[in-house]
């Protein structure tokens, strides 16, 4: 069984899409935020790999057909952003203040929580870039002396949290303006949150896309300033 699947190029591709379809289906049936299609799909694929004994590297070969689309998809985020450029100019002050306060809050929060859990400097700098997109976050973590694999984990947990809770948090905090919603999602939960923002609306998607880039760049500047705190 394991040998046969190992030689199948499309196994990982099929498993990824199939698991996501199952996730969408479960979400549709149960309509609860906790049944997030992404989370369900990830857990399903993990379970499949564990049961069949197929190595991650084998799955990854097929999975790359899907994850490889992420770079052109990021490029395409420019399209809703361009369409909402007037909205961006109109609310420029809110955009800058919103994203900057998010980036600073993220650093302060991580600092305080690391203090609470008495984590070392190494773990502190590992978690600091958690709210930004993986490719930038990995570089920041490495530069600061963090553990890159755990940074990736933090970024994913953050993204999945944002993707799952975006609508709930908007309601709880009474964030009603689509521009503010988009900024909150993109600044706190990078591209993974943005996938959700795009589902919520074009303005949300555009602002969230913008936040990925701006928050990412701001974090590159902020992390070296705060990394000496622990």
């Amino acid at each position: 069984m394991k040998e046969i699947l190992t030689n199948s190029v499309y196994f990982g591709f099929f498993l990824t899409i199939g698991a996501y379809l199952t996730g969408l289906w479960v979400k549709q049936k149960l309509k609860l935020a906790i049944f997030n299609p992404l989370l369900i799909a990830v857990l399903l694929v993990m379970a499949c790999l564990m049961v069949t004994g197929v190595d991650y590297e084998v799955y990854e070969k097929g999975g790359n057909f899907v994850s490889g689309l992420l770079t052109p998809a990021t490029v395409c985020l420019a399209i809703p952003l361009y369409k909402q450029l007037r909205m961006l100019k109109k609310h420029l002050a809110a955009v800058v203040v919103g994203i900057a306060s998010g980036v600073i809050t993220s650093a302060v929060c991580v600092f305080l929580l690391c203090k609470v859990f008495q984590l070392s400097h190494e773990h502190y700098v590992t978690i600091l870039p958690k709210s930004i997109t993986t490719a930038i976050g990995m570089g920041v973590s490495q530069e600061a002396g963090g553990i890159v694999t755990l940074t990736v984990l933090s970024i994913l947990v953050t993204g999945i949290t944002g993707n799952m809770c975006a609508q709930l948090l908007c309601r709880l905090a009474r964030i009603t303006h689509p521009v503010a919603r988009g900024l909150a999602i993109g600044t706190s939960a990078h591209a993974l949150g943005t996938a959700k923002a795009l589902e919520m609306g074009e303005i949300e998607g555009a602002m969230s896309s913008l936040s990925i880039a701006v928050a990412g760049l701001m974090t590159v500047v902020v992390v070296p300033l705060v990394s000496g705190w622990i």
């Binding site: 052109p72 859990f117 909150a184």
Partner: protein
């Protein structure tokens, strides 16, 4: 034909993004370079939204599953995660919720201030 043309444009911009990512010594991913390049092309009028919109919609509508393989990759680090899993999970979830609310509230407050004037 139209979709092929759109795909060619999007992938062309992506490739330039990858080239910039390798040439420039900044920790900026290829996709972000590509995003700004695409935005520049659209703003300058060299590209129209109709030139990329169809294929672009496909990419954007299907973004969520693209994160599945990387997320499944966590499976390789279960040993490392066991040691620090609980504090990491709590720190990440709590700070994400706080950052989300602060960003949204700050942005909304700024817009409200402008509206009052």
């Amino acid at each position: 034909m139209k979709i092929t043309k759109e795909l060619t444009i999007i992938l062309g911009v992506t490739v330039i993004g990858e080239v910039l990512n390798q040439l420039l010594p900044l920790p900026i991913p290829a996709g972000v370079y590509g995003l700004f390049l695409m935005l520049g092309l659209l703003c300058s009028g060299m590209l129209k939204t109709e030139d990329v919109e169809g294929a672009g919609k496909f990419f954007l509508d299907n973004m969520t599953p693209m994160f599945i393989p990387v997320s499944v990759g966590i499976i390789r680090y279960l040993d490392q995660i066991k040691a620090v899993g609980i504090p990491y999970l709590l720190i990440n979830v709590i700070s994400t919720i706080i950052v989300f609310m602060v960003t949204g509230k700050a942005a909304q407050w700024m817009m409200g201030r402008r509206a009052e004037r």
